[in-house]
Amino acid sequence: MKFARLVWANLFRNKRRTVLTALSVAVAFFLFGTLRSVLTTLDAAARVGSEARLVTSSASGITFVLPEAHAQRLAAQEGVKSVSWANWFGGYYQDPNDFFAQFAIKADTYLRMYPEIVIPSEERDAFLRERTAAIAGVGLMERYGWQVGQTVTLRGTIFQGDWEFVIRSTYVPENPSFGDETFFFHYEYLYERTNGGISPGWFVLELDDPSQAAAVASRIDAQFENSTAPTKTETERAWQTGFITMWGNVGFLVRAIGTAVFFAILLVAANTMIMAIRERVHEVAVMKTLGFQNGTLVGIVLAESLLITLLGGAVGLLGARLAFAGDNPMNSFFPGFGVEWSTIALGLGIAALLGLVSGAVPAWQSARLSVVQALRRVV
């Protein structure tokens, strides 16, 4: 520690170089923070799905529906407390390329099962009373400038024509990863306007005892196995994870890019440290002559490179956290996108590793330095 001032002074020997190196490290860690947050956000999104609720969908795949009659048989299952269902609407508001999710829900039971959808109770009642009423997330309300009480028209792609809804409520998600850009409306409305030409896309089940989820799920699937509409029952979390893995192998992509970034910056940082030590060959030789131990010299070099990478890393990681705090464009792709503290901690760990590795070569060089050779070289 008594050499702290020496390390500090060395850092400012060539300010421009130190700053440039720290900045390139900072930029790299900004990227690291952003990329890793994609993973943590997807992870968090997967965890939004409750492990206490089950989802029963068609065993034939996501485009297939189940008969409404399944509801009663599901409700009669041992361990099932209540049953609700929903279907995908697949419409758009004005611009066909502007995507948001719309669900037709069996409203009374659905809202009871989803405490994640936080709405004032008088708005809930107003929604439940009216057949064409809808609930929209706050993010969606902002996106289209909607007001509560307004009538909005969605164009259906699966269900033809223009559909009018009156927005009776707006929800704030209990957890940002749940997303605040979803649109809910009454299943009955869809059912009536299609003259009964619709059926539930999936059932949601609330359980008496969530720890029995696996057993209940397999009992349900066994019961419907030989029916005309076989089912696939899983926890809501597993069901949603299925949708998220459809993004493809994001984890692999992020790790591959992360590795490339790490090595690119390692090269920059190592190069800088080698240059920095080469400049002071004489100084190192003099220090050796004065009796500085090799270990001390190695420590001083490593401390310097550690300081640069940690400083740069901290700037980049905190920068990413600030850049993605609050409203940002990533939120539409990944609800609740943000840089977690765990990402910052991991990033700093990697920055430290980067510092040690990039300082290793010059540290080794200075330890091995022959005093006579170094001093003989003409200044």
């Binding site: 034939s60 190069n271 080698i274 240059m275």
Partner: protein, 388 residues
């Protein structure tokens, strides 16, 4: 008078470690850039090769994708009778009313479930789509529970050999052949007979009707006639354009990610290059003094150092291209958001992309070399010579 290039080359060799580390740093940036763009390219190419410009696809009005659409047998019959539909050698119209569903199947190597398009086509589909070719086995027989699968499907799913069976829609289907389709997204699909798929899936409705035009140049007129026909209630598209449009969103997103990531990495690499070049200039101050004394102009010195930086960058660009090259042809898959089904496609490194990577590197070199070169050119001759 220009300073000879050999001077720069020898200088680079004088500091091999700095040259190589800087060039490698840039190489990694270029490699990531090329790889990401190749991903975007490959995806777009797979869909851009899907379908033909001579074919027309019809969907129910407003259903901007096959999954959402529904067309009656009546519509298929009407379409087949239209005068602008091409006919095969036997005089029958080249039209394929198709069912389209997405089924979950087990990936190979315990990769979990993936959604696959199961397309029920007519026997005519292989004539309507010229690119589609059975490469192994035979086409499915009419009336049998038989399917053919695309070559990209074969690579990625369990039990996909000729003679194996796949289970979906509550029935077992025998795979009797593999087909290729010119690298298009059809190669990720399962094709069976529409009449076999109808009863097990969505009943008596088709999702799309594709036919060959007698005269492809008459497309606009054909489209107007179809869309104006009140019996049909359809939207019509050129088949090729229809599939290209399904790729735009995702390929734009992929290109954006490529540029975003490579751009950020480039900033880091440029800082590294600036460091290297400043060090080079500082170490060679006396040399620069000599050059100036010999009568080289300041702009020659500036140009020379800039060239040196560009040389380093170009080395990086070439190495980066070489690093990225092996991924060419590597097959990966992603879910097309428009259809919720998986599409397999190959990374596609084009010569243009390699050139773009090299240009990208050169730009980094110029940015990284400019200020150090500027500093070199403005050196005071007397002071720099005194250092020697």
């Amino acid at each position: 008078m220009k300073i000879p290039l050999i001077y720069n080359l020898r200088s680079l060799r004088q500091r091999p470690v700095a040259t190589i580390t800087t060039a490698l740093g840039m190489a990694l940036v270029v490699a990531v850039f090329i790889a990401m763009m190749a991903l975007s390219n490959g995806f777009r190419a797979a869909l851009a090769r899907t379908g033909s410009t001579e074919n027309v696809i019809m969907l129910r009005k407003g259903a901007n994708q096959e999954m959402n659409s529904g067309l009656s047998r009546e519509a298929a019959r009407i379409a087949a009778g239209m005068p602008f539909v091409a006919t095969g050698s036997d005089g029958q119209p080249l039209v394929s009313p198709e069912t389209y569903v997405v089924v979950p199947l087990q990936r190979a190597n315990a990769g979990g479930l993936a959604n696959v398009v199961a397309r029920g086509v007519s026997q005519r589909a292989f004539e309507v789509r010229k690119d589609v070719e059975i490469v192994q086995g035979r086409p499915f027989r009419s009336g049998a529970r038989e399917v053919v699968v695309g070559t990209k499907f074969v690579e990625r799913f369990e039990n996909s050999g000729v003679g194996d069976t796949v289970r979906f829609g509550g029935a077992d289907w025998t795979i009797v052949g593999h087909f290729s389709a010119g690298g298009s997204s059809f190669e990720s699909e399962i094709w069976g007979e529409n009449e076999q798929f109808m009863p097990v899936f969505r009943g008596q409705i088709f999702q799309s009707i594709t036919f060959r035009m007698r005269d492809p140049t008459a497309y606009e007129g054909v489209r107007e006639m179809l869309e104006g026909d009140s019996r049909l209630n359809v939207d019509a598209f050129r088949e090729r354009e229809f599939y290209v449009n399904q790729s735009t969103l995702l390929s734009q997103v992929l290109s954006f990610i490529a540029i975003f990531i490579a751009g950020i990495m480039a900033v880091g690499a440029v800082f590294g290059a600036i460091n290297t070049m400043y060090a080079a200039v500082a170490a060679r101050a006396p040399e620069i003094g000599v050059l100036l004394t010999l009568g080289f102009k300041r702009r020659n010195v500036l140009a020379s150092f800039l060239v040196e930086a560009v040389m380093i960058a170009a080395i990086g660009g070439v190495i980066g291209g070489l690093l990225a090259l092996p991924i060419n042809g590597l097959v990966t898959s992603t879910t097309n958001w428009n259809t919720f089904s998986e599409i397999a496609f190959a990374f596609w490194v084009t010569p243009e992309l390699l050139v773009a990577g090299l240009i990208f590197a050169v730009v980094m070199g110029v940015l990284g070399g400019f200020f150090p070169a500027w500093k070199a050119a403005r050196q005071n001759v007397v002071d720099s010579l005194r250092e020697a």
